[in-house]
């Protein structure tokens, strides 16, 4: 029954996108010690990493893009939109690449650390373009990349817990990840 499966997929996507949005919104209230442009916790990555490992990759791209668009519409501005989009896409493609080609050799933690670091690298690229000064992005990069490692560890551990809890939801039959779209 294609229409039935499609409805499930839409429900699943809606849930994941709203979860990612809520996390991006929530992390604005957590103060960060240093004033570095583009520094973020990247809590939405918890959803992205979990989806990437437990749901098909095509759907994750939809979650990434919708999350960025909707968050920018609700609370952001043009600048934060470009920051999130570049960081989000770079992080997504990096994680998909590693997950697709080296699935057996990498753990959830490795993937999430890579994703967080790439997210910050993407933000640095936007910083370089916006200010027109690549050198400034370079000054900030060691700090931002190190921060990315720390947030990556946090995101990785959190997604392991998230996946465990999601299995319960999956068992209830509403979110069977084996059901493909259409």
């Amino acid at each position: 029954m294609p229409s039935h499966n499609n409805a499930k997929r839409i429900v699943r996507l809606g849930l994941l996108i709203s979860l990612a949005m809520a996390l991006s919104y929530f992390e604005r209230f957590i103060p960060l010690p240093y004033g570095i442009p583009g520094m973020k916790l990247g809590l939405a990555n918890i959803v992205i990493v979990t989806c990437l490992i437990h749901i098909e990759k095509k759907d994750v791209l939809i979650v990434v893009v919708c999350r960025v668009f909707l968050t920018a519409f609700v609370v952001g501005n043009m600048m934060s939109f470009f920051y999130s989009l570049t960081g989000g896409l770079l992080s997504y493609f990096g994680m998909v690449f590693v997950h697709h080609y080296f699935k057996e050799q990498v753990s959830v933690l490795g993937i999430s650390i890579l994703g967080s670091v790439l997210h910050n690298v993407g933000q640095l690229l936007v910083l370089a373009v916006v200010t027109g000064r690549g050198t400034i992005a370079l000054y900030y990069s060691p700090m931002l990349m190190s921060v990315g490692v720390l947030t990556g560890v946090f995101v990785g551990v959190a997604s392991m817990y998230f996946a465990r809890h999601m299995k319960v939801i999956i068992k209830s039959g509403y979110l069977d990840p084996k059901i493909k779209g259409d």
């Binding site: 004033g35 442009p37 050799q105 490795g110 916006v130 060691p142 190190s146």
Partner: protein, 120 residues
Amino acid sequence: MKKGDAVIYLVIALSILSVYLVNIPPRGEGLLIVEVRVHSEVVDRFLLTETIDKAYQTEFGYNRIRIENQRVRMVEADCRDQICVHTKAGTQARDAIVCVPNRVTIEVMGEGGDIDAISQ
């Protein structure tokens, strides 16, 4: 830890180390220059030893910088995030303060523009 993880960590560690090494300020007691840019155009150059308090009203917004006691700071900005105002003061070559929404950058650089030699 799996083998692929080790490779990922190694690549990340090496890239952090290499950008860190590139960023180490050059030795020497040369004069430090503060360069203020709006949208990548240089609008002002000061010596870090000067005492300056200057406001910039541009098409992107309002910013005010202050140089005193060999420290440069962004003291005021009308941007939303206020990250530039909270950035620590620039005191040595390759320190930078950025106001992304207003496209204003303040860079401290050594005399002779060694930084430009790297970026171009």
